[in-house]
Every structure is written in C-alpha cells, then in structure tokens.
C-alpha cells in the first residue's frame, strides 16, 4: 500500500474467530507507531455466529468520520464475511482471505489474495485459535510503514503471558506466508488474483456504499 | 434509647411516601424523605457508601410491597444492614382508601367497592423467603413489644424487617372493621397470636396473625462481604 498517510482496514469473519482482538491489536500497533487511529466494530447478535466485522482507520492527521466505507485493505476469514464485506473494498484495494474457508470468486477491480491461515494455524502451530493472529501477521506485512516490532509488542500486551510465544510465532508465520507468496514461491492452498490492471467498475468510485442491514443482524 | 447507645449523628431515617413517610418530619435525626417505593434503594446506596451509618427505613405497605416490592426482595436477598419498619394499615390511606397488596380478599376499599378479589401478601413470609435475616411482627396495641422488636432489628447485623400492624380507622376500619380507633386497637389484641402459639402451616388472615420474632438467623451482612472482596481486589477496606 502506498503511504499517503491514511489506511482503512476492515477485518471480518464469524463470531468467535477473534476478529475484534485482531482489530484491537492492529489499532494498538498503529498507535505505537505514532499515528492517529480509530477502531470501531459492529456489536450485537453477530457475536453468536454470522458475519462480524471490525474496522481500523490509521492516519497522519486527526480522524473525523470514524467508520470505513470502502476499505483499502480487507481481511475475510469466512465465506459469509467474504460475501458480505469483500466488495466493500476500494478499487485497487486488497482483499486478503483464508483460502481454506472461502470459495473465492472474482471481484472486478480489486486484488484478491488467498492464503491458508487456518491450515497454518492448525498444522504449523498446532492451535487453530491463533488463526486470527496468523492472518494479522500477513495483513501487517502489506503495511510497509508499520514496524513488525510494534505489532509484536501489541500482541504481547493483549494476550495472556503463557500464550505470548505462540502468538508471536503466529505473527511470524503470517508474515512468512506473504513473503513466500510475494516472492512467487508456491504455497499449498494459496491463490492470487491480481486485478490491478483490470478496469475499475462503476461502483468502485470513492463514494460510500450503503450497506443494507441483514434481517438476522438485528 | 433502650440502652442501644446509638450516636445520633450517625442515625439516618429513610422514609417512603405515604402516611408512614410523615415520620421524617417528627424526628431529630437526619432524614431522607425518598420517592414512593424507593426508600430501600436510597438506603442501600447510603449504607454501602458509608457503613458507619445506622439506617432505619420506614415504609407503608403499599410503598414497600407494591411499587417497592421488587426493591424489598432484593434488599432482603443482599442482607444489607438496614432496619426496615413497615407500617401496615392494609390500605392506601394518604390517597383516600384504595386497596393495597395488604388488603385481604373480600375487603372493601375505594377501589374494591364490591370486595377485594385479590389475596394479601404475608409481608413477613415474603421477607423471610427473600433472605431477610431478622423478621418480626408487632401491633400498635402491644406498643412495648413493638418497640422491643424494632430494637432487636437495630441490634441485628443484616437486613431486619419489622411489620408494624397499624390502624387506619378512617378508611380501612370504617369500610371493614370499625371506625372507632380505640375499638380497632382492641381488636388487634384479639387478632394477634404469639408466634410460638401460632399454627405456622395455617393461613394468616385479617383477624388472625402471628406476632413476635418470626425468623432470626445470622448471615454476613452485605457491607462485610463487600469489604472482604474489596481487600482481595487490593483496595482499602472499610468505607
């Protein structure tokens, strides 16, 4: 991502996946990096399943409007979250998703990158519960101005001491996935649809998209 | 006062709204004349904030058992160290004689002109079931006993509940028993049965109820439990 001072991120998944924790850690890291930050989330019945999301805005300037309409960077950890939130990414933005959980479909004008977050958490780290942190490590690897130290520190401060090492390893595993993928080294399960050359569709202008509330969200 | 050695500066009387609430005008203690039904929450807050206060809560039967009924059961459950005295005259007197939760089936009032279709609460049993640790009932006829029962509540640490059977000759008496206050008092003598001679499994009626200490157990009062918890949390103990 180019550093024009402002970054809008949406983290989405289903209740219980630690979406809010991932967003809070990201926001902590942004604050530690000295930028202004606002983090919001949708609360409610989503905590019991369904698609839930949390948003982080980072900026060099004071942040007024606190919500993300079209994200620069979207992370989707479930099919429902992908279906609902992936298209709320700006033209040229990046959608990062769990390739083991999402049947990817084309979204014109956005770059899609699927990485095996859950598989990595389960097979490499032996703990499915750190899937959110693996994906956070990957997400942060796309934010060049965010020092890995700041993210490590934020994770260490948020998780219980006895899980600190596991979570730090999870971050590192996430970064490694991005490194390999960017270097063109094959990763089992990884998918990449670089749409940077594609023509932007009309709805991808920088204007807010009204998100219809789903009935089951109320 | 009965050898209780209360520090008058530390006594606070919380009253509800009703005939009983007038008491706050007659006493030379600090008084809080609360909103209708809310005397117990006010008193709970004051006692928890300053455990050194000696708090007496005076309520009417409608005040305590209707609009304030939920507060009564929760104050009893918490076992906050309060002495609650309910003046039960079986009717809303101040507003002119409407039925209350202490009005018995068949009783007449200005809102039960054909006789009350609802049964009355037994307030002492209600307080006991909700967790009050000292429960007593007395009558205005047996004045000395009533004073002793209230004093017992003041000495007891925890939630004390004293039901004082009062007379409202103006409304309840005139509609149901007698408009003559002396006669009404005398009837109380006939209706009241010492608790040890009362059939506890039998009904409590308009003209038959037990008097004396009905229930008395020791259980840590709320402030003591909270104070222990506060020390565990690393805060200062006491108030």
């Amino acid at each position: 991502m180019a550093d024009d001072g402002r970054l809008e991120v949406r983290v989405s998944g289903s209740g219980g996946q630690g979406i809010l924790l991932a967003a809070a850690v990201l926001a902590d890291a942004v604050a530690a990096a000295g930028r202004e930050v606002v983090q919001t989330q949708s609360y409610g019945p989503e905590a019991r399943g369904g698609a839930s999301q949390a948003e982080v805005i980072a900026s060099l300037e004071e942040i007024d409007y606190p919500e993300v309409d079209l994200a620069d960077l979207s992370l989707c950890l479930s099919q429902a979250a992908f279906d609902k939130y992936a298209r709320l990414t700006r033209a040229g933005g990046l959608v990062l998703y769990d390739s083991g959980l999402v049947d990817e479909m084309e979204i014109p004008g956005r770059r899609l990158r699927g990485l095996p977050f859950t598989d990595t958490a389960v097979h490499d780290l032996g703990a499915k519960v750190v899937t959110n942190i693996v994906s956070l490590g990957a997400l942060c690897a796309f934010v060049p101005w965010l020092p890995p130290d700041a993210v490590d520190g934020a994770v260490a401060a948020r998780v219980p001491a006895r899980f600190k090492d596991l979570n730090l390893r999870a971050l590192e595993a996430g970064r490694r996935l991005v490194e390999l993928a960017e270097a063109g080294i094959a990763i089992e399960g990884a998918e990449d649809h670089d749409a940077r050359g594609a023509a932007p569709v009309a709805e991808a202008e920088d204007r807010p998209i009204e998100c219809e509330p789903c009935a089951d969200e109320r | 006062m009965l050898g209780l050695e209360l520090d008058p500066d530390k006594v606070a009387v919380f009253a509800g709204i009703g005939c009983s609430g007038r008491i706050s005008n007659y006493l030379n203690y600090s008084t809080v004349h609360c909103a209708h039904g809310r005397a117990l929450p006010f008193a709970t807050g004051a006692k928890v904030a300053d455990p050194e206060l000696k708090i007496i809560v005076v309520m009417g039967d409608g005040d305590c058992a209707a609009i304030g009924g939920n507060h009564l059961i929760h104050a009893a459950r918490r076992n906050v160290d309060l002495t609650a005295v309910v003046f039960n005259n079986s009717i809303y007197g101040m507003t002119g004689g409407q039925k209350s939760p202490s009005t018995h089936v068949g009783d007449r009032s200005t809102t039960s002109p054909f006789g009350n279709s609802e049964p009355a609460f037994d307030l002492c049993e209600l307080a006991r079931a909700a967790g009050a640790t000292y429960v007593a009932r007395g009558t205005s006829w047996a004045y000395r006993q009533l004073v002793q029962l209230i004093a017992g509540g003041l000495v007891h640490e925890g939630f004390s509940f004293i039901e004082a059977m009062a007379i409202c000759n103006t409304y309840y008496g005139r509609f149901n028993l007698t408009a003559d206050s002396a006669e009404f008092l005398r009837l109380q003598k006939e209706h009241a049965v010492a608790v040890d001679k009362f059939d506890v499994d039998g009904p409590r009626l308009r003209d038959l109820y037990p008097v004396g200490v009905i229930h008395h157990v020791e259980r840590p009062a709320y402030s003591d439990v909270f104070s222990d918890m506060r020390q565990k949390a690393g805060g200062r103990g006491g108030g």
């Binding site: 202004e36 609360y43 | 006692k47």
Partner: protein, 384 residues
C-alpha cells in the same frame, strides 16, 4: 517526545474519568451499549476503595446513587435509553433535593427496546425534559474518546458545584469506539465536598444564593440533614406544600441556579465559523462526520463553519446567535428527527435558513450525506 498513548474505548474512558474525578460509588443495571462501564467499574471501584452495586433495575440504581451521594460519596450510574427512561423519576428527585450525581446515557436506537447495539441521538430532548416539573439540567455530549474522559470529570465538578444531577450523553458509536489517547489525571482540578461554614445549630438559617451555592453536609456528619422530594422552604429546608410563594421561590431557584451561570457552564467548539456562509450545528459522534464534510467543502471553496456544542443543555444560545448573524443557512445533522433542529430554529428566529438532516436507522450520518446537502444549499444560494 510524544505522550504515552493507549488505545482506549469510549466507555472505558468514562469509567476512568469517574475514578479520576473522585467517584467512589457506582450502581447500575446491565444494558447495551453501556455495559462496559459497569463491568470496568465492578473491578476498578473495589481497587480504589470504592463500592459497586448491581441493582435490581435502573430505578433502584438511581436511588442507590442518590443515597450514596447523600452519604458523602461522589456517585454515578450508566445506562442506555430504556434504563434512562426508568431513571427519570429519581433524576427528578436529585434535581428537586439538589443531590449531586452523574448519569451517563449511552444512546441507542429507540423508542422502547429499539436498536440495542446501534447508535442514536434520540435522547437529547429526554435528557433535558425527561422528568416532570420544572428544573434546569446540565447535559454534556462527548464526541471523542478523550472527551468521554474529560467530560465525565467535568460532569462531577459541575454536579458538586451546582448541587445538581449532570448527564453525560454519549452514544453507541462514541462509547464503543477505540482511539489512542493519553488520559492525564495529574492536572485535573476536582471539586470537593465541603461542609457549610456555620455551626450545626445555625444550619437551617443559612441559605444558598444564586452566586453562592452552599455545600450540603453529609449524612453522618454533625449536621442534621433533611432531604425531600416535596416542595420545601429553601431557607429553613422544611417541607411546605401550602405556601405558593415557597413553591415559586424553590421552582425558580432550581432553574435559575443553572441559567444564571450559563456563561460559565456552556462550552462549544467553533471551527471556521468567522467567515462561514453555511453553518453546521452538530454534536456527539455526528460532529465528526460534520467536521469531515466541512473540510471537504472548504477544499471545494465553500465557506462552511462548524458549531459543535460540548454542553448541549443549557442550550448554547449565544453561539447560535453569533452563527445566525452571518451565515445564510444552518444545517443540523443528527441521529434523530429534528430534535435539536427545532431548538436551533427557535434560537435563529428567522435570521438564517435552518435545514435538518435526520437519520434513525442506527447508522452514523456520513460526511457524504452532509456534503450533498451543503452542495444543494450552495446551489440555492448561488441561484438567488
């Protein structure tokens, strides 16, 4: 060297503000989206030697807060719409009996159970007029996480100074939002509860004036305190419901003791208002959208100014006056339908056009919505 900043949630900042202000008593009842305040204070109050009570309902919570305040401890409760409605009965008592206390209302969509998890500004009129009878009200509206902290501290100070309940009117957006802030507790100026400067026997002969509001002695002190919800003689403190003059004296005093000090109490933020042709009147979380819209409009060369009330009640009539004198149009975006727009319109008294922008779907008004309205109003102005 930047100040140490921490990511803090709005509700958390309210809780820490209360502790910093010297509050040592909380009573409440769980309700979304205010619950974090109770959860945090259930831990923090015992840690600092204070008390926490979870009551049976919001009426009882407000009663316990009043009891604790009368016993000499700074006290607060926190709730949302349905609970705020229940609290009105005893907010009226606190106003009548002049008991300092703080009520935090984290607004959600209504009426009734409404939209429990979504923000709203539907309680702005209830916060002013929710009780029966006549009395004044102080209501503060935070727009940022930092303000959730500072305005809670201010609320306690104003409450002690004027012996009145003060409301912090937050909303689900500000309450659940996290921002990186440094909560500085060292420099805070705190009101302290004192005793009247007189002998206890003379207490019922001293009387507060508008310029000198005496502290109330605490229960358990040397003084005999008599609090009541009935009309009382402001001089002797004795209940008196038969003398119209006594009732009038008290009624006017309860209103005037705040209005007389309105210059000291009312605070607003004015941005770009000096040269504005179009004004925005926005408060709470919506003020953030308004600020973004203002910046965007100014980039396009439209002179837009923002008036953001920090004190919503007493109403900032003076600031609206200033704005009405030189703008053509005032736009009032709010997450309700015309509640404050009416008030602005009354204050503007025809000097400018007042345009409302309401939203009650549980979503924050967006900058784009406001910009669209600005563009429309600019077209109207240019077309004239």
């Amino acid at each position: 060297m930047p100040q140490p900043r921490k990511l803090v949630q709005g509700n958390e900042a309210v809780a820490e503000g209360a502790i910093a202000a010297g509050a040592r008593f909380f009573a409440g009842y769980p309700i979304t989206p205010s619950t974090e305040i109770a959860e945090i204070l259930s831990r923090r109050m015992p840690e600092v030697g204070g008390s926490f009570l979870q009551m049976e309902d919001e009426i009882a919570s407000m009663g316990a807060v009043i009891g604790a305040s009368l016993a000499g401890v700074k006290a607060l409760t926190a709730t949302s719409g349905p609970g705020f409605s229940l609290m009105q009965e005893l907010i009226g008592y606190a106003a009548m009996a002049q008991v300092p206390c703080v009520i935090v209302d984290v607004m959600r969509g209504g009426p009734s159970t409404g939209l429990p998890t979504d923000p709203s500004q539907g309680d702005v009129m209830q916060s002013r007029w929710g009780t029966h009878g006549e009395h004044s009200m102080i209501v503060l509206v935070p727009s940022t996480v930092l303000e959730c902290f500072t305005l809670t501290v201010d609320a306690f100070n104003l409450s002690e100074q004027y012996r009145t309940p003060v409301i912090v009117l937050s909303d689900a957006m500000v309450g659940h939002m996290r921002e990186a802030v440094a909560l500085r507790v060292e420099d805070l100026r705190l009101a302290r509860r004192g005793e009247p400067d007189c002998d206890p026997d003379e207490y019922d002969t001293v009387v507060s004036t508008l310029d000198h509001i005496l502290p109330r002695p605490d229960l358990g002190s040397r003084f005999r305190v008599h609090a009541t919800g009935l009309v009382y003689n402001r001089r002797s403190g004795a209940v008196d419901t038969s003398d119209p003059e006594v009732a009038a004296d008290l009624g006017l005093y309860l209103r005037e003791k705040i209005y007389h000090h309105r210059d000291a109490i009312v605070r607003v933020e004015e941005v770009g208002t000096e040269d504005a042709e179009i004004g925005l009147f926005a408060y709470g979380s919506v003020a953030r959208s308004a600020r973004a819209a203002m910046k965007a409009a100014r980039k396009k060369g439209v002179r837009v100014g923002l008036l953001r009330p920090i004190t919503l009640w007493p109403f900032p009539t003076g600031a609206v006056d200033r704005m009405a004198e030189h703008v053509e149009t005032i736009i009032v975006p709010e997450m309700n339908i015309r509640q404050m727009a009416w008030e602005v319109q009354a204050a503007v008294a025809g000097r400018a056009k007042v345009v409302d922008l309401g939203r009650v779907d549980g979503r924050l008004i967006t900058p784009a919505q406001i910009e669209e309205l600005i563009d429309r109003e600019v077209d109207h102005l240019r077309a004239r």
